[in-house]
Amino acid sequence: MSLGLTPSQTVGPFFSFGLTTEKCSVRCIAGPEAKGERVLLTCRVLDGDGVGIPDAMLEIWQADAEGKYNHPDDPQEKTCDPEWRGFGRMGTREDGSCEFETIRPGRVPGPGSVLQAPHLNMAVFARGMLKQFYTRIYFSGDPANQEDPVLALVPDERRETLMAHPDPAKPGHWHFEVRMQGEHETVFFDV
């Protein structure tokens, strides 16, 4: 049996009172009790003119510090950090930015015999997007990036677009830019 999928439609300009109210937003992906290296991640979404998109919504899904997803289909024989949920959702501000409070995830099994490098999975929604676009956030300078099987699918010159960068002035602060178009267009995945 195979049913036809319901098609996607844009979130439109007015989703904030339904999806990103104070009650429905999730800024804190990892609570203060969660294990792992703390990360304050600032994301910014830019359109084809390099202008911040003020009516976008970012969703993040990630594993805990041990690389375990809080999900029954994760077959790894580890127990998830009891403080762990792994989901974040924020609407962007006027300049296209928003923040998440989280931890650097552990390495998740990938295809083949390699582990994936620490990464966050991200879906981007906005007015003017008829469907969500998927990307990943890796941590610049992480040695595991060299052997990540997904980064290996991306041409060398575009891998940089998937990197979050540490703020040299503020320990634990990271920045990630989502560029929808242009010279440094972010790599989006066909999932």
Binding site: L5, F14, P109, G110, A123, G128, K131
Partner: protein, 242 residues
Amino acid sequence: MRHLANERSIITPYRRHEEGCQPPAPYQAYESTIKRSPSKPLTFLPHTLSEITGPIYGHGQIAETDNDLTRQHAGEPNGERIIVIGRVLDCNGRPVPEALVEIWQANAAGRYRHQDDQHPAPLDPNFTGAGRMRTDENGAYRFVTIKPGAYPWFNHYNAWRPAHIHFSIFGRAFISRLVTQMYFPGDLLFAYDPVYQSIPDEKARQRMVCKFDLETTQPQWALGYRFDIVLRGPEATPFETP
């Protein structure tokens, strides 16, 4: 299409989208997509644990009136009261239990409770227009609300959106996440609406239109509509390699 061998982890990949059943990006007739869609081809990603898992536990509190948009204020909202029921299923026909379903919509006059909505139609002090609930063990959900009005937008001259309710649904996996719009049967604005028309396949497009349902309709009280939602699900046969 590239596949990576799966030696260690046992992963059942999710079924991919069929041609013509999802909107393109960008879509010229919907002007805002032009600067907001990737211009380079997407990178094909074989599914890993990261794609086939997703947020299924908890999304904060759900209050008792969250699925009844007519009872969230002191008085009753203006407009035609309706009941919208349906099931969330995966493409294999399996119900998706405990799925978070969120909706938001304009009021009966076609006005959203949002600071950027410039449509000179009245706000309704008794209507916010947002709701949420979780599906039961059969994947079923039920909302009581009022029928939203059509409203104008600035995409092109004399542009009007057909009446619709926005739906956001979390399935079992991060890649089964869906945001869509539910339309009403026989809307005369379908032919002129680039958002609705963005779905190339006519049959797929009609899957966004709810059906009038006499069984759900309550005598002397409200019309009922059924809107079933089908999300991506695992491919039928898991492939396992030791």
